[in-house]
Structures are given as structure tokens and as C-alpha cells.
Amino acid sequence: MTSSPTPSPEPAPSAASDDILDALVERARAGELQAFNALVARFQDGVYSLTLRMLGSSQAAEDCTQDAFIKAWQRIDTFRGGSFRSWVFTIAANQARDELRKRVRRPTRSLDEARDDPDRPDLDPPGDEPSPEDEAERGEMRIALEQALMTLPDDWREVVVMSDIHGMDYREIAEATGLALGTVKSRLSRARGRLRDVILESRELSEAVERLGVRR
């Protein structure tokens, strides 16, 4: 599994940033590519993260992310307001789902394989200065968690990534996936249950998560 965690969650949008975002969206809707590329710069980490965790391959995630932004640009006239982030995530999730459908079988890799993956991007969290011990421990834990994510069925993983990693609420997830709210609720619950099982099966991971919980 490939991942590069960024521990800081998405900053809460302020009114000023919302205004800037709205202005960028309007300019993009008017056909200004420069404004759209400013939106790309703003959301590309999130879109890439989503596709990476849905697909489990950085190369596939790159392709999917690029395709999603191109499609968003081509269809910018269909954006009817609301959350631009959710709209882009919806396009990206659809792209990733299409890619998953094309796959004959889903690759499953061990944690060791994931560690040795030359395709694996930087796992170091930016903006953090942990001790070398903490850094190593966190790195291991992140890899294990990413691996745990990949044990989930695709449709469960999609929901838990959107919710727990990207902080989307049930309504946003339902819109992005086309699922009913009840299905989102159900899948998220079961996905968390499965992840909990995986964590419990690894003593190290379980302890690491416990410590994480204590620290938090």
C-alpha cells in the first residue's frame, strides 16, 4: 500500500477562504483555466489521497486524479454550487470506481511488500517534527493502517476513506457515491468493525493505536 500521511486535517474553511474559493469557481466556470488550476492546486492532495486509497496504486491514482480533474474542467458548467470539493471528490470517486471495475482481480499485498514498494510515496508527515523513535513508530503504524484499509472490500473502503480520512459527512458521502444514507451508515459501521478486527489481530498495531488514542 502506498501512502503519505499528512496528519493535519483539512483546515476549517473560513468565510474569506470560501469567498476566494467561490470566486475561483466562478472564474473557472467562465472558462478561465488559470482559475481552475488554482482549484486543482487546492484540492489535488485530497483527490489524490482518495484515489490512492481506493485503488492502492500510486500510478493508477495519478492517472485517475488527472482524469478526474480533466473531466471536472470539461464539465465545470454542470457544477451547480454547493461544495466544490465534494463535487470534485464525486468525479474522482466515480473515476476510481470505473478503474476498479476494469480490474480483473484486486491486488492483495502483504505489509512487507508494501514496505518494499518502490512506488510508495513519501510517508513522512509534513510540518511535524517527531523524535526519530516516534517517527519510526508512526511510519510503521501508518503502513499497517493503510494495509488494513486495503483488506476492506472496495465499496466499504470508499466510504470509510471519505468519512474517517477526508471528514465527509454522511450526506456528502451519499452524494459522492450515489448511495442511500442508510447504506452509507451501514457500510461505514461494518468497515470500522472490520478495521477493528484487523487492528486487534496485530498486537503491535493494537498497542500503537492504543497509544495514539492515549496521546489524543
Binding site: T2, S3, S4, P5, T6, P7, P9, E10, A28, R29, A30, G31, V40, A41, Q44, D45, G46, Y48, S49, R53, S58, Q66, F69, I70, W73, Q74, R75, I76, D77, P121, D122, P125, R142, L145, L149, W156, V160, S163, D164, I165, H166, D169, Y170, K185, S186, R187, L188, S189, R190, R192, G193, R194, L195, R196, I199, L200, S206, V209, E210, L212
Partner: protein, 314 residues
């Protein structure tokens, strides 16, 4: 962490099917954690975790799981995904004519369907319950054939002149529907006179540019006029009843007795053309509806094609 009851079956399950009581409890706890419950459900869950320590432990585990995966955060993109200007075409801006055209696609489809429906209704729904097709079938096509034969006898110039006269009277096209009779259709050109040939001649001229084709068109034009929208009186309605508004003579009436000669037909009053024009008006309405339906359908198809070709380039 103690989630044994939960672990018993969740490890194997992967479906969105009916949920058990435990599943439902898990869903409630998970949704409670996310703040997705309403007030009543929230109170219910809080009461549960207050009295059931295992439920409280499950909730704590869920919180840890969510925190652990939330800490993964976003992955830094390995490169910029900005779109180079030369790589893609400009988007269809919301205000562009093409975008407006796309938005009208649904309207055009609906309009085409409605126009087509009216076209079919106008074509089929004869006032006396008969259809041109039924007429043709019931008389074995003799009416149409006799019309064609009679028209062959008539000079082509007559048909053309009838067409011209029909055109002159076009102002009254929709003024009054033509009375229809059972045999009335398809014989507008029976005696080859101007009086009876004009309405059918108009229809023939609309469908066939050559005199020969116009002859054939007279028969079909007459048939079409019979089945006009709202046209005609009941079959047994006396023609004298019509004289107040519409002159009695019509292609349908005259063709009812095809043995009558042109001389037997009394001269038409001044308003005759209005009545006969009504037949071509009804037929014209049918034809117009057909044309509108066809145009709208073509526009709809064109729009859909354009959209698909646009999608394929993405």
C-alpha cells in the same frame, strides 16, 4: 478493547443486506460517533452506553479506529495535476450557446414526443371513428384507385390550377373543419373539376412535385383531409345544417356519390373555398405536426450526438 460480540460475525460478512440487532447497534454507535443521529436516537444511545459497559467499550473502540485512520490524513500529491492549456479544450461555459442548446435537449425531446402524439392522434382519430387507413382497407382501396384513375383523366393543368386555388384560399385553412363522410376521403379529384380538386390537389402538391405524383397525392391528400383534427360532422349530418357557417359542398360530400357528374354539382357559394380550405388546413395541420415532430426529433438527436461526441473527447 473488548468487542468480541462484534467480532464474531463481522469478520466474515460483506454485504449490505438486512441487519441483525447487533449490526443495528453498531450502526447506531458508529453514527452517534459521527454526530449523525437525531435527538431521540442520540438520547437512546447515551442511555445505552450509560447502563451497558460493553456498549461503551465498543463506542470507545470505534472512536480509536476513527482517530487512527483520521490520522492518516491526506497524501501529498507526487506532482501537480494542473491542466496545461493546450491539453484540453475549453469547457462549455454555462452561458455559451452550446450549453444552452444542451439544456434545451430535454425540452426538445418532450416537445417532439408531444408533437408526434398529436400527429398520430390527428392522423388516426377520424371524427366518425374511421381512419384513412381503415377507409382504404374497408373499400379495398377502390376509392383511392378511382381517385387516381379519375385524376389521370383530368388534365394535369387542372390539378395544378386546383393547387393554386387552394393556395389562394389558405387564409381560411383553419376556419372550419371539413365534414367527412365514410367514403369521402381520397376522391377529391374525382371529377377533375377545380371545385373538388383543389383541396386534394393541394395535398398532392405538398407530397409530390410532379403532376403524376400529384395525381397520386390527390387520393392520399383526400384521405388525410378526412381524418383532420376535429374536423367534420357526423356522417348523417345534413349538409344543409352546415350552411350557416360552412358551405355544404365539400370533396367528401361530392365524392360520396362518385357517379354524379360535374354538371350535377351546383355552383359553390362564395364561401366554398373556405370550407374546402379547411380540409387542406386540417391536412396541413397534420402534416405540420409531423414536420414539427420530425424537426424536434432531429434537433434532439443532433444535441445528443453533440453531447456524446463531446464526452468522448474527455
Amino acid at each position: 478493547m473488548n468487542l468480541m460480540f462484534w467480532r464474531r460475525r463481522n469478520h466474515e460478512a460483506h454485504n449490505d443486506g438486512p441487519t441483525s440487532g447487533e449490526d443495528r447497534l453498531m450502526e447506531q454507535l458508529s453514527a452517534y460517533l459521527d454526530g449523525e443521529l437525531d435527538d431521540a436516537e442520540t438520547a437512546e444511545v447515551e442511555a445505552l452506553i450509560a447502563r451497558d459497559s460493553s456498549a461503551a467499550e465498543v463506542l470507545e473502540d470505534l472512536r480509536l479506529v476513527r482517530s487512527a485512520f483520521g490520522a492518516l490524513g491526506e497524501v501529498r500529491a507526487p506532482r501537480s495535476f494542473a491542466i496545461p492549456a493546450e491539453a484540453v479544450a475549453a469547457p462549455r461555459s454555462a452561458g455559451s450557446p452550446l450549453a444552452l442548446f444542451r439544456r434545451t435537449e430535454l425540452f426538445m425531446r418532450a416537445s417532439a414526443a408531444v408533437a408526434a402524439l398529436f400527429f398520430v392522434v390527428a392522423l388516426v382519430n377520424s371524427p366518425n371513428g374511421e381512419t384513412p387507413v381503415a377507409n382504404f382497407a374497408s373499400d379495398g382501396g377502390q376509392t383511392a384507385m378511382s381517385a387516381a384513375a379519375t385524376a389521370d383523366e383530368a388534365p394535369a393543368q387542372e390539378s395544378l390550377r386546383a393547387t393554386e386555388e387552394g393556395a389562394q384560399g389558405a387564409a381560411g385553412t383553419l376556419a372550419a373543419p371539413e365534414p367527412a363522410t365514410a367514403e369521402g376521403g381520397g376522391t377529391g379529384g374525382t371529377d377533375g373539376t377545380d371545385d373538388d380538386g383543389d383541396a386534394a390537389g393541394t395535398m398532392g402538391a405538398l407530397t409530390a412535385p410532379s403532376p403524376e405524383a400529384a395525381n397520386t397525392g390527390e387520393a392520399s391528400g383526400g384521405a388525410a383531409s378526412e381524418g383532420g383534427v376535429g374536423g367534420g360532422l357526423p356522417e348523417d349530418a345534413p349538409t344543409s345544417d352546415m350552411q350557416g357557417d360552412v358551405p355544404p359542398t365539400s370533396p367528401g360530400e361530392t365524392s360520396a356519390d362518385s357517379s354524379r357528374s360535374a354538371e350535377e354539382l351546383r355552383p359553390l357559394p362564395a364561401g366554398t373555398e373556405l370550407a374546402k380550405d379547411s380540409s387542406q388546413g386540417v391536412g396541413g395541420m397534420v402534416l405540420g405536426l409531423g414536420v414539427v415532430a420530425g424537426l424536434l426529433t432531429a434537433l434532439s438527436v443532433l444535441t445528443a450526438w453533440n453531447r456524446r461526441s463531446g464526452d468522448s473527447t474527455r
